[in-house]
């Protein structure tokens, strides 16, 4: 089981999941695959470990889920709620603030 993302990435899975779900509704496997491919395999969830995150976000009413059949397969589809969209905006601005700060510092040290 792959679970190698460093601890300073706390909160990043939430941001990534909310960002992906802001584009379209998805099920667990799709989310894991999208994170892996869209981050160039730099970040990955352990297979199966996405579900407690999704359940947490659902308990926080940031996402909602619906079990339905698509192409002969039953799956739980997750989609972003209004609260989730608001949370995504907060996390995105926080992320931009942090990355800008870190980039400035790294630039100074390397420059």
């Amino acid at each position: 089981m792959k679970k190698t993302n460093p601890s300073f990435l706390n909160g990043v899975p939430e941001l990534l999941v909310l960002r992906l779900l802001s584009r379209r509704e998805m099920y667990g496997y799709q989310i894991v695959e999208e994170i892996r491919t869209q981050t160039g395999k730099a970040l990955s969830f352990g297979e199966g470990c996405i579900y407690p995150y999704l359940h947490y976000l659902e308990a926080e009413k940031q996402v909602s889920s619906q079990r339905r059949e698509v192409e002969g397969r039953n799956r739980n589809y997750y989609k972003l709620t209004a609260r989730g969209r608001k949370r995504l905006e907060e996390l995105t601005s926080e992320w931009k603030r942090v990355t800008t700060g870190v980039s400035l510092l790294m630039g100074v040290q390397h420059g």
Partner: protein, 232 residues
């Protein structure tokens, strides 16, 4: 390992770790769906059925370790799971007196709402009447018993819901029991006090332990029934 064995091992381990039944059903269903998706992806790459299943198993990893990860993530996802020391050791000490005061307040508010307005003067008059005083004392002590029972139920429910181990549920119940053993409300005609008594109150102290025991037995039986249903 076949897919059914993988899923069965995951289910058993989640139950052993004290995962709530609702969560077990849901997590197992979603991991089974995930396993099927991984298998389909492998099949689409031209692997045989057996190889595709084996690769899906490898990708998902050891089912026992996966169950541990799922439980850890589940615990981290709630405040009670993250702060179990405060939640199940400190808060029970505060919960019992707060609930007791709340119940008394509700009782008095109900009397007020029903038109039996009360004030200190009336309470002093009641204190001089043996029958009325007996009722008043019953209300105070009754609220004490109910508060202890409610607090125990509340912490047992929170422990189950946040998927913390049975140890934390037992700790919260033991603390409620200790509080009940030595904490007391003394009501005498024209005086009232709340404090600690070194004379133990065994009946009140037994309430949390009985409730915890009943809940533990109930959950064990439900878990057994669930495993039997799955086996069938």
């Amino acid at each position: 390992m076949a897919r059914t064995d993988f899923i069965e091992q995951l289910r058993r381990r989640l139950l052993e770790l004290g995962c709530p039944m609702v969560q077990v059903r849901r997590l197992v269903q979603e991991v089974a769906d995930h396993h099927e998706d991984l298998k389909q992806a492998a099949l689409s790459e031209g692997l045989s059925e057996a190889d595709a299943e084996a690769r899906a198993n490898v990708q998902l990893g050891d089912p026992l370790a996966l169950a541990e990860h799922l439980m850890a993530a589940l615990r981290r996802s709630s405040w009670w799971g993250r702060h179990f020391l405060i939640g199940f050791c400190v808060l029970p000490l505060l919960a019992v007196p707060v609930l007791w005061a709340l119940l008394l307040f509700l009782g008095l508010s109900l009397e007020f709402a029903l038109g039996y307005s009360w004030d200190w003067k009336k309470l002093h008059v009641a204190a001089d009447n043996p029958v009325a005083f007996h009722h008043l004392a019953m209300a105070v002590h009754g609220a004490d018993y109910v508060a202890i029972g409610l607090a125990t139920l509340l912490f047992c429910w929170l422990a189950r819901r946040s998927a913390v181990s049975v140890t934390w549920m037992a700790t919260a119940c033991a603390i409620c029991s200790l509080y009940a053993l030595f904490g007391q409300a003394i009501i005498k005609p024209h005086s009232f006090a709340v404090g600690v008594s070194w004379t133990p109150h065994w009946i009140e102290a037994a309430i949390p332990l009985l409730i915890a025991g009943a809940i533990y037995v109930f959950h064990r039986r439900t878990k057994q029934r669930f495993q039997e249903q799955v086996a069938v």
